[in-house]
């Protein structure tokens, strides 16, 4: 049985199986935002995803940004919201804003 909020087990399992893993974490939110601070999305270079940092609105954009983190290990701070042109494209329909920390595991 899987605790749907505990992404660390998934991150460890994927890393142990040889995947290149990145972890995205909600570090701040403004206005209505579907996922609280601390919520996590775990991604692999091979395209697997578990968890979430929004209601499904920005995960694809985080996955795009993760290409750089996979490649050079760079930690990134990503901002999404209605004032952000790119986030508008990916559709943060709730009108909130959020900041996501994206880091490589290992």
């Amino acid at each position: 049985m899987i605790d749907t909020e505990d992404m660390l087990e998934t991150a460890a399992a994927w890393h142990d199986s040889g995947e290149t893993v990145a972890i995205a974490t909600v570090v701040d939110t403004w206005g209505s935002s579907p996922r609280p601070r601390g919520s996590r999305l775990v991604l692999t270079r091979s395209g697997r995803m578990a968890g979430s940092v929004s209601g499904g609105c920005v995960e694809a954009a985080v996955a795009d940004a993760a290409a750089r983190t996979f490649a050079d290990g760079a930690t990134q701070v990503l901002e999404f919201g209605i004032t952000n042109e790119r986030a508008w494209e990916v559709g943060l329909a709730c009108g909130g804003k959020l900041t996501v920390l994206l880091e490589r595991l290992g």
Binding site: H15, V27, D28, P36, V77, L101, G106
Partner: protein, 259 residues
């Protein structure tokens, strides 16, 4: 995040220890707190965040840090490895509870009936004494057998468990409360028992009863003991149409059924 940090966070969770992962923004440097070597301001803020179980960004000496509280999961002790427990255990685990099934009856408490669930085969009072429910623990009795339910409730009421629930009809509940009063529990203690257990959603099937119990557990954990009803009033857990039909005992036939 280093694999070592990940391993330490997982170990803390398994050991039921609160840890705060402090990440400096934007470079991603990380510290695990408590750590005596960390800046005092960071330590103090981390302790406050941990106490509130609230992750947040703070400024420390001109640096921005994200304090991510990693709290162990709340616990749910289910007394009675019955049919409702088979539905409730996996649902509660999905919702983030660390579930333990307590039942000394070996025919009920089997790994086949409860895959991936911790099974505690001691008598409920002995088991609960050892497991020591705290303010992040819920106890739900489902056996319908006063020899098993009563000692569990007696012990649960002597702890800080945030939720105590007992399956059974209103009639069963009234008799149960009298027995607990005879054991020395006052009105305030007895009022802590949610029984008949569950939110009044008209639950009929085992899975529906499990949903009503889990929903009530979450409501109490997140909102406190009383809940606003759909009509704007306040529904107490002793509401006459709780999750289990008041005069029926839908589980009575399941007591002898093992699958």
């Amino acid at each position: 995040m280093t694999p070592e940090t990940l391993a330490a966070l997982r170990a803390a969770r398994a050991a039921r220890r609160v840890e705060v992962l402090a990440t400096r923004l934007p470079d991603g440097a990380q510290l695990r707190l408590p750590d005596a070597a960390a800046p005092a301001a960071l330590q103090a803020e981390a302790a406050r965040a941990a106490a509130r179980d609230e992750s947040r960004i703070m400024d420390c000496d001109g640096e921005s840090w994200f304090l991510h509280v990693h709290a162990p999961p709340p616990r749910l002790f289910i007394v009675g490895a019955v049919h409702v427990a088979q539905a409730l255990a996996p649902m509660a685990a999905t919702a983030g509870f660390a579930v333990t099934i307590i039942d000394p009856r070996r025919g009920y408490a089997t790994a086949e009936r409860f895959p991936e669930v911790t099974i505690e085969p001691r008598w409920p009072d002995e088991a609960l004494r050892a497991l020591a429910p705290d303010a992040h623990t819920a106890v739900v009795t489902l056996t319908h057998d006063s020899k098993l339910d009563d000692p569990a409730l007696d012990l649960a009421l002597r702890t800080d468990a945030f939720y105590v629930g007992a399956l059974g009809s209103r009639k069963t509940q009234a008799a149960r409360l009298e027995r607990l009063a005879a054991l020395g529990h006052g009105a305030d203690a007895i009022a802590r028992i949610h029984g008949p257990v569950g939110l009044p959603i008209g639950a009929v099937t085992v899975a529906e009863i499990a949903v009503s119990i889990l929903a009530q557990l979450i409501a109490v954990r997140r909102n406190g003991r009383a809940l606003p009803s759909a009509t704007g009033g306040v529904v107490r857990s002793t509401h006459s149409r709780d999750g289990v039909p008041p005069e029926a005992c839908p589980m009575s036939q399941d007591q002898g059924r093992l699958a």
